[in-house]
Symmetry: C2
Subunit: 421 residues, 2 copies
């Protein structure tokens, strides 16, 4: 194991300019277990941030599934193999019956990129709507509709940016009105709509949960104009929102396509696109789609193991209960620390918006950065989100229990005391 | 384990229209070891096709590296971690000294897509040149420059298709002339060139190895016009061509960016883009690039294990020797069977072009399909390539030995006897 300073220097020399590290004082991790990450000195950090190791870092059932299948067979999907079929059958049982087909990819980016390829081909349209601070992935196409990538962002062709359903700063219905306006602009520009693509908890926009009725209205507008609905469940999916397995279920709508990713293999690179079979059939009539690593037996067994753990350890239920406890504790802190302007989220996906003044609601970005770094110094890992990075993002593995929430709340109280003193 | 017929029906129902299977009678694989794949009845198949499990199916050193690291830590690159830095240092030592930076992705598609994003941003140009039957991946951008995807292919904006350096059907220099013509067309259209992207063994075009001097001429033309050179080493890389570790080295040129994929983790989803540090720096100044699973410690340890096996088992050397033996045997068959029009390739990446008439060179696509299927019936796995699927593609794991080559040659002789009788 290398000294952290040498490691940092070597990393910068070898990996180059695109890479970023978390925290003013980067964390050098060497081991993970459950909700804990350990640094090179053996110090434990409470992971209240990582949604990939969703069933807990290095869950033994997932590790065993990967090790066992990797020793037996790992090849592509142009041969018949049990693993992908067994996984597909089991996994699709978690979705509404209209969504009966799955295509496996390696990353959420590949899933979203494919969703848009299908939408554009099947609808014959080009127009894509995403929220103003969306993040949907790293391919060329997705970078052009992910303003959250920051100042280098260049909006892609036929991409319309719409308002997020910001329950803290805008009126209910602003999101729907923004969809209507985008559709009208497309009509005037002679661009046929292809899809509304949205993260069902609006993770990068600031973590929002619009009313079901509003989402239904927005969806109806898009469909009436001939566009498809693509739910990006890469972050909210797999039970994280507590009340439901998938974020879109909270809104009583069934998307045409659903992209999955991050927690799907607990860190193993596996992702997927689920959707209506007629869309895949129409796409498949004109195009083949072959992803060399996508749907290989190891990835499928990893994903199957994650699904089984999610069920057997009732982690969705835990997300609901501990998320509720956590939000209650945050409300108590909010009563003491007026820097907390709003507490949002579902299950174990929580946003705590920090502001200067409850009237002005000025984003407290510097304070948020200070909180995140001071939490890290106290061995608790969180981050920020939102266009101004002023919203604390608390998004732990789903094995996060009440005692972990208590530790987080206690420490956050100390840190808020310090930064607002 | 399911019955193959039930499995096929379930697969078609669940996976939908985009998926394809190899062979008239699909193969149901359950286990792999070295150059062998085993079906559900325990029948062994000699794998002379798969370039992903390049160090042999289920190589124990790679399996152990994956299992061990998966049990210890699997997280993203926003923390310091030894695995990515150690791998990057070791891996980059395999490249010319100008190529000193690496960005890790999960798939070759992600690597090529990123290469083009970087090229377009850094050059300020848009024009991309690829060969007429190129295949570079499955993202929206790459699908628009991968004519090998077939009839559904729609050429992307600012994509120019150039001739492949077809040594069997065109004059030497046709490729260079085609580059010059594309550049001239760009100039007339007011499109600034961004990159020439080429597979260094022209896998999907039909497996070609142009003279070094020609490649140098083409590269010089592109650079003089301000474009970058991107070598797609996803297929030819990692010693497969025998004489060199990377396909581009045969031509005495150093690309600006090199994409890696398929064999990099022996089936584990890991890929990368290697290149000149000033390109990554320039890109990173304006954009961040974060790939959630890209460069995770498990992927890095898998890739490191592959690299070590490649070295310790001297597999590049084996590719050279057995590839040479195989081509000699194919030449002997060509003397007996005039349906063999041309034998091409390097190391263990071999193309055998089948034709009707050595003068007319009519692509013998149906015969090629029959050969592939009859080989499969005799438990030897190969496939076809080229615009007419008339070229037998022989591209086994690099642990393919002389006795395996002998078995392949003997069986191919029988099959050629049968199909040309």
């Amino acid at each position: 194991m290398q000294d952290s300073q040498n490691l940092l220097a070597a990393r910068q020399r070898l990996l180059g300019g695109g890479y970023r590290l978390f925290y003013d004082q980067p964390l050098h991790v060497v081991r993970g277990e459950g909700v804990w990450l350990y640094d090179a000195q053996g110090q434990a950090y409470l992971d209240a941030y990582n949604n990939v190791a969703s069933v807990g870092h290095c869950h033994p059932a997932v590790v065993a599934a990967i090790a066992s299948q990797a020793a037996q067979l790992n090849t592509h999907t142009r041969y018949l193999n049990d693993a992908i079929v067994e996984f597909a059958e089991d996994f699709l049982s978690e979705f509404p019956p209209e969504l009966r087909n799955i295509t496996m990819t390696c990353t959420g980016s590949e899933a979203n990129d494919l969703a848009l390829r299908i939408a554009r081909q099947v609808t014959g349209g080009e127009g894509i709507m995403v929220t103003r601070w969306a993040y949907h992935g790293v391919t060329s196409l997705l970078a052009g509709l992910s303003p959250a990538l920051g100042e280098g962002f260049q909006r892609g062709e036929n991409v319309w940016l719409i308002d997020a359903p910001d329950s803290y700063r805008t009126q209910p219905g602003a999101w729907v009105a923004s969809i209507a306006q985008a559709l009208e602009e497309m009509r005037q520009a002679g661009v046929k709509p292809a899809a509304l693509l949205f993260d069902t908890i609006f993770s990068s926009d600031g973590i929002f949960s619009p009313e079901a009725q509003r989402v239904q209205q927005g969806v109806a507008l898009v469909r009436a104009a001939g566009g498809l609905i693509i739910a990006d469940e890469v972050q909210p999916g797999f039970g994280r929102t507590g009340s439901q397995r998938w974020g879109f279920l909270r809104y009583g709508v069934t998307p045409d396509l659903v992209s999955l990713g991050k927690p799907m293999g607990n860190g193993h690179p596996v992702a997927a696109l689920v959707g209506r079979p007629e869309l895949f059939a129409e796409f498949g009539r004109r195009q083949r789609y072959f992803n060399t690593f996508g749907g290989n037996p190891v990835s499928c067994r990893a994903a199957q193991a994650v699904l089984q753990v999610l069920r057997s350890e009732q982690l969705q239920n835990n997300a609901q209960e501990v998320g509720c406890f956590l939000r209650q504790g945050l409300c108590t802190l909010a009563a003491q620390y007026p820097v907390i302007g709003d507490i949002r989220g579902e299950g174990l996906f929580i946003g705590v918006e920090l502001v200067l003044g409850h009237e002005q609601k000025t984003p407290a970005s510097q304070i948020a950065a200070a909180v995140v770094n001071k939490m890290r110094q106290r061995q608790i890992l969180i981050s920020t989100t939102g266009p101004q990075a002023s919203i604390l993002k608390i998004r732990p593995p789903l094995v996060f229990r009440q005692q972990h929430a208590e530790l987080l709340l206690q420490t956050l109280g100390q840190v808020l005391e310090e930064v607002t003193a």
